[in-house]
Symmetry: C2
Subunit: 335 residues, 2 copies
Amino acid sequence: MSEPRKLEVLRAIVEDYVHSREPVGSKALVERHHLGVSSATIRNDMAVLEEEGLIAAPHTSAGRIPTDKGYRLFVDRISQVKPLSAAERRAIHSLLEGPDDVDDILERTVRLLSQLTNQVAVVQYPHSNRALVRHVEFVLLAPQQVLVVLIADTGSVGQKVIDAGSDVGDDALMRLRSRFLGSIAGTQLALLPQVLPSVIALCPPELRGLAHTLANGLQALSDNSREERILMAGTANLARSNVDFPLSIGPVLEALEEQVVMLRLLSDMGDDPRGVTVSIGRENPYDGLAEASVVATGYGSGAKVGILGPTRMDYPTTMAAVRAVARYLSRILGG
Amino acid sequence: MSEPRKLEVLRAIVEDYVHSREPVGSKALVERHHLGVSSATIRNDMAVLEEEGLIAAPHTSAGRIPTDKGYRLFVDRISQVKPLSAAERRAIHSLLEGPDDVDDILERTVRLLSQLTNQVAVVQYPHSNRALVRHVEFVLLAPQQVLVVLIADTGSVGQKVIDAGSDVGDDALMRLRSRFLGSIAGTQLALLPQVLPSVIALCPPELRGLAHTLANGLQALSDNSREERILMAGTANLARSNVDFPLSIGPVLEALEEQVVMLRLLSDMGDDPRGVTVSIGRENPYDGLAEASVVATGYGSGAKVGILGPTRMDYPTTMAAVRAVARYLSRILGG
DNA sequence: GTTAGCACTTGGGCATGTTGAGTGCTAAGT
DNA sequence: ACTTAGCACTCAACATGCCCAAGTGCTAAC
């Protein structure tokens, strides 16, 4: 039995199964794909593939379906990226239009990606390490509560309420505000940890406690506020793609609601925008996603975009869409 | 046949059906509830109820289930609010702790409500009409793009990117910023439409165009940015509560994703925090929610909280939870 | 107005039979 | 050493028929 044909058979099985959602048998295979051999030969090949754990039969006398391992081999070695259709290219292009908000762009992106792939799309807020501090604002909400706002020149705004521990004077806050502003305006967000201590040190002793608290807030904002958030769209696709198919969507919805889970999932994946990363079925660290796959990649400076869907998905097309969208995102938001 | 007993029968049917998820028959009814009559009498009553369209039989020889109209009568006239359990009270109370962000509070609220009711919880961002302008910031992102930030003393931060139409100078922006800040700091957000024009009028002619654009942005932020957003949690409950039950969750997920739909839905409902409003099945204006009910009420100054679930839900308990949560929200965020 | 009794309806469960897709194996062909 | 035709075998899915339990509506008596 020839190695290339074996792979060809696996490919055919994956493609047919993805398309029909039904176990695929030897006879149907030879009919739909013109491999130059008979069904009996295919059966032999299939037996080997099954032995290697690449495909499995739901019951004795049914066709085969790919295993996680089978899909893995498929995406790693067999599949080749399908080019996007003209309409799809156009849809992505229109993202470029309208010089809007980061939020706006991300929202439209995630929506588009979910429509393109018919899956649940997820996007992480972009890392803005290179962003510069544009403005800092402290707002007294209650005697012991301060709202800290950090505005970057990229247009991202972070906010956080801080508990000061003791009563705060409005004038003290004003003074600290101009001090902080004077020292860190124009600084890279990423450099805040190095700069902030010296700002505190320069404060008059009676303000130092408060300054410290505020600085902590700013720092938390700088590395925290945004890139720890995700946006998603297309959860309804879960229900649609699994009509008459028992991927229990409950656990998946749970996972999607847990931002922490999704963030870990995404950050565990590669971020090379040229090649997308795929995590298949039980490869996922989260149990609820045992029957789901994640296709994701990085954009900009390391944040992730991707989709989540059933393991039985059209990987080539999906990967192409994710990659294309990531590229455009990188371009719009500037690497 | 006595009117009170008829209602009693309807109540029993609703309660049993909600509990068992199965059509309930006359015999089971007399056993579980000690109505002092025989099953035959109940049958007669049921026939009348069916004639009135309050209950229906899925097929000839099955028990009855409540219709939308039946549920309606139930919530309007029969049901009495169940008190919350001690544990539930405690859970809600703990919301009071931690003097946190509005975002934080809402997020925790919606999560809590979804756990309390085992449904999808939805909360609208609070109306902040009484809030005062605390700070205004204009940030130049690109030659023609300005980020407008509006900070209220309540801790809410609004932001929006504006297309200026022509190149904007950094210094012009600075001058406008202090002008705006000087004129509207401390003003109620709700009064901005009246105040802003005079600010523009006072600007030097060469800045008036830009000032106008910026004012538009501010105004959009003031009535737009927040209260048009909703937060939700517990979508996974949809899947759980409908295991072995055919409420097609696809359309429901779609509705939930369309913020516009949800906002209309919520704003169509009453906002008296003392009594919650219920919209049952086909009463909902959106087709996808024909098998769903919404239980909601207002909090604070008119924003809504509520839940969405299958028409077959435990209305008394759910209504109690929604009402309690709304009250606490009102208290925390201040009328 | 209530109730017992009864004939009637009907979905669900179960046992049984049938079908067809699909397999694995063997033996023959290249 | 592969490939292939042929064949016996397996098994889910479907169909059929049967019975049962739950439930109804009606009638006649209380």
